[in-house]
Amino acid sequence: MTAHESVGTKERRRRRSRVLRRLLRNRAAVVSMAVLAVLGLVAIFADLLAPDDPNKVALVLRLTPPSAEHWLGTDALGRDVLSRVLVATRVDLLASLQAVGIALVVGVPLGIVAGYWGGIGDSLLSRVIDALMMLPPLILAVVVVAILGPGLSNAMLAIAIVIIPSFYRVVRASTQTASSELYIESARASGCTSWRILWRHILPAVAPPLLVQASFSASVVIVAEASLSFLGLGARAPQATWGLMLKEASSNLTTSSYLIYPPAIMVAITILALSLLGDGLRDALGRQTTDGR
């Protein structure tokens, strides 16, 4: 009988590996994953990689252009830009994880409940979510930060609130599609409890589009973080984030334009990688291509 089990799991693994294989065939997605992996490593080992203390102020060295000593130059306070950009990677990635995490934790259960049970709860919830979506995201985030006070965590909470609707909608729609399947009815007829149906039949159906949405949302969060920090509503000095570095660089833009490039390029690379990975995931997990194979 163990043979059954192992074959069953093998079968499932094969299915999973099919998705992976399709993903690996997509060159853009592979490159994106590699870039994100490097960014992840940089985030983890930022302290070791940074050649200098990112917060060490050296006013004598202020605004020195890139040189052998400071590869990316120094900023207005003489801090090493390379070190700051590396440390900022960690802060930014953690922050975007935080925002996406909050949005998942709130949006997914709400979406499943609304999509599965429907009724008045669904109508009410969906109207509230519609109202949230109607507001311009950045303005909404600014308002939330204004209420909660500035700071990176609050900014991320604000952004989480902004992206909850997209998770809610994706989850609700795929829950509705899944729960109209006859096998859900048949599972109920054989005595499945609602929770069991949600866990076993609905959640697996919701997961793929959710994964894609999470990837896209992470890139939105990176941009939003940069925007909020740039406006002075996110991270606060002396913390290093890409947004904050852009803000500081902008005040010396005319004299030291080299300062703007490192954070801008990091933001661009990250969102490009996340978006392309999202595209790749969407194609690899596409339902029409998995059916009947």
Binding site: E5, G8, L182, S186, S190, G191, T193, R200, H201
Partner: protein, 340 residues
């Protein structure tokens, strides 16, 4: 009608009993009665047929037995009991102990009843793991036995396959295995062979018949195919526009129908032995539920209708202890049945 209830209530081996079951649904015309005062009993060791056109309330009746009525439907009168437990009084949790354990159901389109993302064995074993608390290994072992019971060849290999590797008939066998996993006493089969081709249909029906006899369970077979009824059923209830219009044992119903609707259905059956007989038909359509007349519901389409008697509400009249008909002219009509 009262006598009939007393008759069925006397026997103890009823696995399912509907008493005066009345179901309403919410539509744009307000709450509309779609099942009206249905009495139905299924006992151990018998197959009861529930026959009628689309929209006659067969499926709604069966869904209320499982407590699976959609949200926009409600039972307004009467009750359904499964193994002595009244379904409408049970909580959702208690219902999950009835469904699959005491009563199980199979549906019209077996392929769509299986989740394409899991192996069939997994899905059958699921029921055992949930209701019996068995380990994965033990449940899978039992699943192989169940597959053998429903005559799926190479059971040990087939349990590991996915639904798309099964034909429609095989999927229905899997559904049967799933339904019978926890030894229910009642099996509801809602048009189990409608989506299958004729030869497969026959095999599945024979299987249901054999399993019913072997396990001694009661089966409620919902169908619109009188040929299926003739082959399978011990007793038959004919539904029209939400009401039972005739109820009898299969033999009596086929040879001496006492309701013009039953007779009309029988006349419209194809009988290869009677070449040249013009095929009968019933003119008109089943009225939509919000237009069910208060009079005899069939009279608009009935070729025997007379103004005087048929323009009133017609109760279920008893013809003999086990035969009743909802026809006002029950005493003076001689209706054609099947001849053999």
């Amino acid at each position: 009608m009262t006598a009939l209830i007393a008759d069925t209530a006397g026997t103890d081996d009823a696995v399912m009993r509907a008493r005066d079951l009345t179901v309403e649904v919410s539509t744009e015309h307000g709450w509309v009665t779609i099942v009206d005062g249905v009495n139905l009993t299924v006992r151990r060791n018998e197959i009861v047929g529930l026959v009628g056109e689309s929209g006659s309330g067969k499926t709604v009746t069966s869904l209320s037995v499982m407590g699976l009525l959609p949200r926009n439907a409600r039972i307004t009168r009467g009750s359904v009991e499964v193994m002595g437990r009244t379904i409408s009084t049970l909580t959702e949790r208690q219902l999950t102990e009835v469904r699959g354990v005491q009563a199980a159901m199979i549906f019209q389109e077996p392929r769509r009843c299986l989740n394409p993302a899991f192996t069939v064995g997994d899905q059958v074993a699921e029921s055992l793991r949930r209701h019996r608390g068995w380990s994965r290994k033990r449940a899978l072992q039992r699943t192989v036995e169940l597959f053998e019971l429903v005559e799926i060849p190479q059971a040990a290999r087939r349990v590991k396959q996915y639904p798309h590797e099964f034909s429609g008939g095989m999927c229905q066998r899997v559904m049967l295995a799933m339904a019978l996993a926890c030894d229910p006493m009642l099996l509801i089969a809602d048009e189990p062979t409608t989506a299958l081709d004729v030869t497969v249909q026959r095999q599945v029906l024979e299987l249901i018949r054999r399993l019913q006899a072997q396990l001694g369970i009661g089966v409620l077979l919902i169908t619109h195919d009188l040929g299926v009824v003739a082959e399978m059923c011990d007793r038959v209830s004919v539904m029209y526009a939400g009401q039972v219009v005739e109820e009898a044992d299969a033999d009596t119903l086929f040879h001496e129908p006492k309701h013009p609707y039953t007779s009309g259905l029988l006349q419209s059956m194809l009988e290869p032995t009677q070449r040249g007989r013009p095929l009968g038909y019933i003119s008109g359509l089943v009225p939509p539920p919000h237009l069910f007349p208060a009079t005899c519901r069939f009279q608009e389409r009935c070729s025997y209708a007379v103004d005087s008697a048929c323009r009133t509400t017609v109760e279920l009249h008893q013809v003999s202890p086990a035969h009743s008909s909802r026809c006002a002219r029950i005493d003076d009509l001689k209706l054609p049945g099947v001849t053999d």
